[in-house]
């Protein structure tokens, strides 16, 4: 894929992001990302707001039209497709785990988890670690044909370790590259590669 499309793809996955964040996702130098994005703004392909960039609707469509060209080999790669299907299965578990991290049953009712019950939190963390073990295998298989998938391995592991070290914001905080943030981007990336739509 050319740099322009790779940067646009990274921006589509992150939706609204500054050049360094896109750069780390797609593995292109941040200065190069910045110059492509500045050019994109000048040509009406992106907007800049609050230090971040976002693709304009038509630029997003144009990018999506080219996916059938860029990703044709991956869509035909049996190993990659099988790994993707496994990811979709694990994804259902992950969403339940995150939901259980955010909510807790108190007197028969689901309420926001304020993290004062270590037993509940530890049990959910154990399940998250279990999910991570499964996704490691999947990412290994995805990274064979598509090496840039390794970045997700690193980011997920970093978030998991930070959460296990006691800073629980690393599980699902939306303002940082928490486990759930990275997972969601990985899912978005894969949906775009495969040309699929989100289920739920």
């Amino acid at each position: 894929m050319n740099d322009r499309d790779l940067v646009f793809h990274g921006l589509a996955v992150k939706r609204h992001a500054a050049p360094p964040a896109v750069a780390s996702l797609v593995g292109i130098d941040a200065a190069r990302v910045k110059s492509l994005l500045v050019e994109a703004v000048a040509g009406g392909r992106a907007i800049e707001a609050k230090g971040g960039y976002a693709l304009t609707p038509l630029a997003r469509l144009a990018l999506e039209g080219r996916y059938s060209f860029h990703f044709a080999p991956l869509r035909k790669n049996e190993g990659f497709v099988a790994a993707y299907e496994s990811f979709e299965r694990i994804n259902r578990t992950l969403k339940q785990v995150i939901t259980d991290w955010q909510t807790i049953e108190v007197a028969g009712e689901r309420v926001a988890n304020v993290h004062t019950d270590p037993t509940h939190d530890e049990a959910v963390m154990d399940r998250l670690a279990g999910v991570h073990e499964q996704v490691e295998t999947v990412l290994q298989a995805l990274a064979g044909p598509l090496p840039r998938m390794r970045i997700y391995q690193q980011k997920l592991l970093a978030a998991l370790e930070a959460a296990e070290d006691g800073d629980r914001e690393w599980v699902s905080d939306v303002r940082r590259e928490s486990y759930h943030t990275v997972w969601f981007e990985l899912h978005e990336d894969l949906l775009r590669i495969m040309g699929r739509a989100r289920e739920e």
Binding site: A54, L58, L61, A62, T99, Q102, E109, A112, D173, E200
Partner: protein
């Protein structure tokens, strides 16, 4: 790394001048690529005979639909264009179209109650809040609107009415909503996870009708949250959405 067709090779040069040309070209090429692949024909057969049969008028109409659905409106040079297809063209000055609201056939509809409230729908509460949320309904279905809000900020007290349970469109501005009503998904959807994280009242899988852009609403986010078990066992557990008419007391 792509699968190179002749049409892909002729276009490796300059980027098209305008975003509309680039999008149209890209979507037409995508169509050709897919039809060619499905046809099993050789490129010569496809080009000389197959394409007349395999590329249909409806395919091109669908491409135009995607462009319009993305929020684009075509510029017009004769007024008759915009008069005949107001949905496809930039509106005439002072002639902004009102956004048509969701109209779910199963949305409960109530009479105006003594306190000025009228039920306009129900949804699955993602987490129980202390109080109900009140705000102004704003449909967010076009990228254009998201881009405007992203650069100018979301108006205070906005209850976003959307159908995108992945939060794909709204993620960059979600933080600024006073509430969310989503016509799809479940409490476990990505959007459910995001709104819980931001502590924004949110109803998923909402069935609403009779809510216009700009209406004042109350959402019953103090109702019990829907649970995974509820979905599995088919338990009806909903939170209501009220339209607040002129004299409604705001009591939460």
């Amino acid at each position: 790394m792509g699968e190179s067709l002749p049409l892909d090779r002729i276009n490796t040069g300059a980027v098209p001048a305008t975003p509309l040309v680039e999008a149209t070209l890209s979507l037409v090429q995508d169509l050709v690529r897919n039809r060619y692949r499905e046809s099993g024909l050789s490129w010569a057969e496809f080009r000389y005979a197959g394409s007349d049969r395999l590329l249909r008028k409806e395919d091109f109409a669908a491409i135009e639909r995607r462009i319009l659905d993305a929020g684009h409106r075509f510029a017009w040079s004769a007024v008759i264009s915009v008069d005949e297809r107001p949905e496809a063209y930039v509106p005439r000055a002072g002639d902004e179209q009102a956004e048509a609201g969701f109209a779910h056939p199963e949305a409960p509809q109530g009479e105006v109650e003594a306190d000025g409230r009228a039920v306009r729908g129900v949804g699955d509460n993602v987490v129980r809040q202390q109080t109900n949320a009140v705000g102004i309904a704003r449909y967010i279905r076009s990228n254009e609107r998201v881009l405007t809000y992203l650069s100018e900020g979301v108006p205070r007290g906005t209850i976003a009415v959307i159908d995108d349970s992945g939060g794909t469109l709204t993620a960059p501005i979600i933080e600024q909503f006073a509430g969310v009503i989503c016509a799809g998904g479940t409490i476990r959807s990505h959007l459910g996870i995001l709104t819980r994280e931001y502590n924004i009242p949110c109803l998923m899988n909402a069935k609403v009708a009779g809510i216009k852009d700009g209406d004042r609403l109350m959402i019953e986010c103090s109702a019990a949250a829907k649970t995974t078990e509820d979905y599995q066992q088919g338990v009806e557990r909903v939170a209501r959405i009220w339209l607040l008419t002129g004299d409604a007391e705001v009591r939460s």
